[in-house]
């Protein structure tokens, strides 16, 4: 095996199959094909549920396509034109971005601070870490049902009562645009902040303590250490957290749908997200898969665009940072 193909990977990999192959001439095909066979399940599944749907969505979006009736006439970009002319589409887009920003910005900040706290030499580490992670095992649907009750509009709702004790008037969480977005963002943060905290904590523990020792000698206080050492060294992990929360945040559905019992996103669509709109077009009254697919493709392009912007942005930061380059090694 190894004799035939040119060596290209690390030496350890080279060594293993050569000896094996000498002993196992009969098993040649076994040796040759097995690796491909072993990795194939992933590619098959991905082709069916990832790659093919993406292309097929584009195809569907160019046709009249009914949930039950199936494929109709080719209509070109008519579905796109229809969707882009709908006020609800733009409302959904606005809501999605608003909820996404309202949830992810505080989430990353809180997770960073919590990770710093947990990074202390505390007693019963595992207990506290588990405590932070606890919400992660609660299903988003359950979280949404619990929180939509806590965020009841009446002055006697739990959150409103708590606000009342500090002198803030009751807020009608389901009525307003911003207030409903805040409530939904809170649900998202409840479930995901702990998870991201642990990811950041892990990265923090990999920061060499020498750096902090040097900073202490230079007279840097804890805050200064955080800004000048922790955050720069964590940059790749922070980027990872931001990207994953972007992909998730732009597809938000569960929490927003469960925020009231009708699942329409409010009377004026105050909190209807793009994914909810896709659902409504495809499985709601219209049953138009063509239009749903058009929205799905637009959303995909937006996510792609933001991903590229993220990449470009972080590249710029990474090249201007001094310590970040070293961390990249991993």
């Amino acid at each position: 095996m190894a004799v035939i193909s040119p060596p290209e990977l690390d030496p350890e990999l080279d060594r293993a199959p050569r000896r094996i192959a000498m002993r196992q001439r009969l098993g040649r095909w076994d040796v040759k094909l097995s690796p491909y066979l072993y990795v194939s399940p992933f590619f098959i599944v991905f082709a069916i549920v990832g790659l093919f749907p993406l292309a097929y969505t584009a195809y569907v979006s160019l046709h009249k396509w009914h949930l039950i009736g199936g494929k109709g006439a080719f209509v070109g970009f008519e579905n796109y034109a229809y969707v882009l002319a709908q006020p609800n589409f733009w409302i959904g887009l606005r809501n999605t971005f608003s909820i996404f920003l309202l949830s992810s910005v505080p989430q990353v900040i809180i997770a960073l601070v919590l990770a710093v706290v947990l990074n202390n030499n505390i007693r019963a580490k595992t207990f506290w870490r588990m405590g932070v992670l606890l919400p992660y095992v609660v299903a988003p649907v359950a979280v949404a049902l619990i929180f939509s009750k806590m965020f009841a509009d009446s002055p006697t709702g739990l959150i409103n009562t708590l606000l009342g004790t500090v002198g803030i008037d009751a807020i009608r969480w389901h009525a307003g645009v911003l207030s409903s977005h805040v409530a939904i963002a809170t649900m998202v943060d409840f479930r995901w902040t702990g998870y991201n905290t642990l990811i950041l904590l892990a990265a923090m523990q990999a920061v060499p303590s020498d750096l902090y020792e040097a900073a202490v000698l230079d007279g840097a206080n804890r805050f200064r250490q955080f800004i000048s050492i922790t955050v720069p060294m964590l940059r790749p992990t922070i980027i990872f957290v931001v990207i994953t929360s972007t992909i998730g945040g732009l597809q938000i559905f569960d929490e927003a749908r469960m925020f009231d019992q009708t699942g329409q996103g409010g009377a004026d669509r105050q909190w209807m997200t793009v994914t909810m709109y896709i659902y409504e077009l495809g499985w709601g009254a219209q049953k138009s898969f063509g239009r749903a697919a058009a929205v799905a493709w637009i959303l995909f392009l937006i996510i792609l665009l933001i991903g590229l912007m993220n990449f470009w942005f972080t590249q710029r930061i990474a090249s201007s940072g001094t310590t970040a380059g070293k961390k990249k090694k991993r």
């Binding site: 098993g27 990795v39 749907p53 993406l54 988003p140 992909i247 559905f253």
Partner: protein, 304 residues
């Protein structure tokens, strides 16, 4: 990556040894000192925020509709109606038991399948040599950025053409193997499985697949356990796809619980009793295996 290895890379072996010595003496860095009560106070507040909403749903789930309307903040001691409410949930038309067993089936089958196929692929990527290995692995990782949810329209078309809508296979098949799982097992086996073991097995005449079965699979056990745990939680809590493809006739637990709100939207004692009921299984799993979940996240992050 351990911090020692990190220092070795950045400042050479001597520095690493010096740092290790310093750490052993346990001195200079402020990280080694025990923090004061402020830290614990913050952590306690965070713990309260984490746990209270879950407990809150149990509190409301144990009271009756009337007292919920009167008391916005329920007393900390649960009222006595929990089992009444539970029996009302069980007797409602949401098919709770069916949903529970459906969720269990989906979560278990998905976990087993993800672990098996991911280990298989991870073994191949980390220890076998084949053309295009690196490129394929990069591709696997890149797919993590593709939001599969956006393909739901054609995925639904495919499922309905196969006649799978309303059936559990429609939920299981798309998540049989994940990019994250493949990446995770590749990372783990890279370091945890010595080539000598594989060689020895091959020399003894093992075929490729039996080498995998007898050598790689046992070696992968710790990472496999964590992957199984993650997959279990992820599959138990997912909603969007089961909601679309299964509907209310053959629901998983989140789909069923969601129906409670649609049909009993004023009766929060009933709804939140159902929520509590659906959450209990995973809380139990978390109580038993939470430390592994925690260390899993921590490891995955360091290696990723």
């Amino acid at each position: 990556m351990t911090s020692v290895a990190m220092i070795e890379q950045t400042s050479g072996k001597g520095a690493a040894r010096a740092a290790a010595r310093r750490r052993k003496r346990g001195s200079v860095g402020s990280a080694n000192r025990r923090p004061g009560w402020v830290t614990y106070a913050i952590l306690a507040v965070v713990l309260l925020i984490s746990a209270y909403p879950i407990y809150y749903s149990f509190l409301l789930g144990s009271s009756d509709a009337g007292s919920i309307a009167r008391n916005p903040i329920p007393s900390f001691i649960p009222a006595e109606h929990f089992f009444d409410n539970v029996s009302r949930v069980l007797n409602s038309d949401i098919q709770f038991w069916k949903a529970l067993s459906n969720s269990l089936i989906v979560a278990v089958v998905t976990s087993v399948s993800v672990v098996f196929f991911s280990t298989l692929a991870g073994y191949s990527f980390s220890k076998l040599r084949f053309r295009g290995r690196r490129q394929l692995l990069v591709f696997v990782i890149a797919t993590m950025a593709v939001p599969t949810q956006l393909g739901i329209v054609p995925l639904f078309i495919v499922m309905s053409q196969l006649g799978w809508t309303g059936k559990l296979v429609a939920v299981i098949v798309p998540s049989m193997v994940t990019a994250f799982g493949v990446f995770w097992m590749t990372q783990y086996l890279e370091s945890a499985l010595p080539y000598e073991l594989i060689e020895a097995a091959r020399v003894d005449g093992c075929s490729m697949i039996s080498t995998f079965w007898h050598i790689a699979l046992p070696a992968a056990r710790p990472a496999a356990a964590m992957l199984a745990l993650f997959t279990f939680v992820g599959s138990w809590t997912q909603f969007f796809w089961p909601f679309i493809v299964l509907g209310s006739s053959n629901p998983t637990l989140p789909v069923a619980v969601q129906l409670l709100q649609a049909s009993y939207f004023k009766d929060y004692s009933l709804i939140l009793a159902g929520v509590t009921l659906s959450t209990i299984p995973l809380i139990l799993v978390f109580a038993l295996a939470g430390r592994h979940l925690v260390s899993g996240i921590m490891q995955g992050a360091v290696k990723g």
